[in-house]
């Protein structure tokens, strides 16, 4: 917590690697989520009939339901993808940085 540890970390090239890689990855995933969600909301607002399309000719179920379910599942998959990388690659790099700063 001393100033020196903070300074050491700030100068550590691994720290630059960690923060830039992690934030790029996080923003990429956040971008995917935001695009999908607000894209969906815009469809709901402007072209709701699109979601009323039937899953198959003659079917009653509309594509809206499986699309909705897919967005719910995608939210979870994205969190899993992030944590998989954050808790292995990034965590290892993080521990190395903390070790070097001692």
């Amino acid at each position: 917590m001393s100033l020196t540890a903070t300074d050491k970390i700030l100068k550590d090239p691994d720290f630059q690697t960690l923060t830039s890689r992690r934030s790029r990855f996080a923003w990429l995933l956040a971008g995917i989520m935001l695009t999908v969600f607000y894209g969906f909301i815009l469809v709901v607002a402007f072209v709701p009939d699109l979601l009323a399309t039937k899953v198959a000719p003659g079917a009653t179920l509309s594509i809206g339901w499986p699309i909705g379910a897919a967005i719910i599942i995608l939210s979870w998959v994205l969190t899993a993808i992030y944590v998989r990388r954050a808790n292995s690659e990034f965590e290892a790099l993080n521990n190395k940085i903390l070790e070097n700063a001692k």
Partner: protein, 559 residues
Amino acid sequence: MNRVRLLTGGATLVGLPASLAAGPALAAGAVAGEVEKQAINPLAIGMFLAFVLITLGITYWAARRTKSAKDFYTAGGGISGFQNGLAIAGDYMSAATLLGLTGLIFLKGYDGLVYAISFLVGWPIILFLMAERLRNLGKFTFADITAYRLGRTQIRTLSACGSLAVVSLYLIAQMVGAGKLIQLLFGMDYEYAVVLVGVLMMAYVTFGGMIATTWVQIIKACMLLFAGTFMAIMAMAQFGFNIETLAIKAVEVHKIGDGIMAPGGLLGDPVSAISLGMALMFGTAGLPHILMRFFTVGNALEARKSVVYATGFIGYFFLVVGILGLAAIVIVGTNPEFLNADGSLRGGSNMAVMHLAQAVGGDIFFGFISAVAFATILAVVAGLALAGASAVSHDLYASVFKKGDVSEAKEMRVTRIATLGMGVVAVGLGILFENQNIAFMVALAFGIAGSSNFPVLILSMMWQGTTTRGALIGGFIGLITALTLVVLGPAIWVQILGFATPIFPYEHPAIFSIPTAFVAIWFFSITDRSAAASKEKEAFPAQYVRSQTGLGAEQASAH
């Protein structure tokens, strides 16, 4: 027996976001008018008593383990990612999501699913942009983070007031919802129901702190997941586990027919739709009782894990809710036993899932699901009370009033007194607001959380340029904008004050008030040339290193 009126429709019954943009339309549709108070239901009461006994046992056990302030506020940081994921999911799977969302799908079909989705997608964003920073910087309350390098007194006061406002509004909405629901399910008088909820909530929090609050939430989440799954399987069995068969039957019997297969008028205009999305997404990231959960895990690694579990459980539950809503259209909507003479649902559309429980699981399962609904409310109000009490004792009393010069024992004593205070106030306001429309409180709570708490929190963590002046003025402007627009909007201006047309046409101010807050914080920060401001900017690198690496972050207690 006296008759009670369900004044508030839709999910406003339990005062949670399913009511948010739905507002008047939903309310009008869901109000079933006069409903008979249920006869005493011994089976439901028996199961509920069993739940209360178990949770009081846990509270006793937790009380013995709660030794320090850290134990009290954050369960000593000893909750695992999996447990915390369940607890977060528990906070989210409130009575509103169980009753309100199924009711909404029962009533409107696809619109209900749009709500469920909007309600979930905030979680990935919280994980990507906030979770590890929250864990690394936080201690007991989120004001610990905003006041990390900014002017302690002012910023902490702002954040604490933001917390208290959100918690109180939410708590009142929950209390009113709880009273109505218990009246309906257990045949208990409204006042007794509210007092009972208040007393149990105070017991959990005062004695068991965060440990008890978390475990009550975990048990309830498991009960709810089990009940939902069981009901979905029993219901789907009637349709040969074929979703197309279910869809055909549902469209056949529903009033709006094929309309349930596509978005309807609920989110008609794009501004409302986007505003709702923003309110739910960023409001969630500013709810004190949710943020507090990130301080209960041991480290950033566990904090991240907890979001994956939480998102998984919540997402799964929402998929189940979709099935339950559709199944209720067919199974409940065509059974005269559950309908009033005019064809509307007995007890209002919020009761769709309760009737479904009765239809597929008989009296025993109905008793179980009633107990689950009550347990859900108890668990959520306990979390809220703890968050509110922490803002009073840790932020206002210990840090602002006493400038940190106070013993831990004293601070904890103040927390307990504050909890009792919150309980008394919640019960009092719950009774006072019995016959009020509570939808606006939820809109306000989310407005304040998203437009004041969230911008101050995220900018203080991510932007070096944030200064005390910027955060204070910007946070305050966000607060005022959200408040003003809600007052001038349909929820208060038309429904409460009785004017014909709202001055501000949208239920949710988020699309305007959130950017306003961000711009204001930015503007009043960059124009701040004071010496204090440059000091605050100099302190950013240390905060940045800690937020990224966890250097010097709070550790879990030893035991």
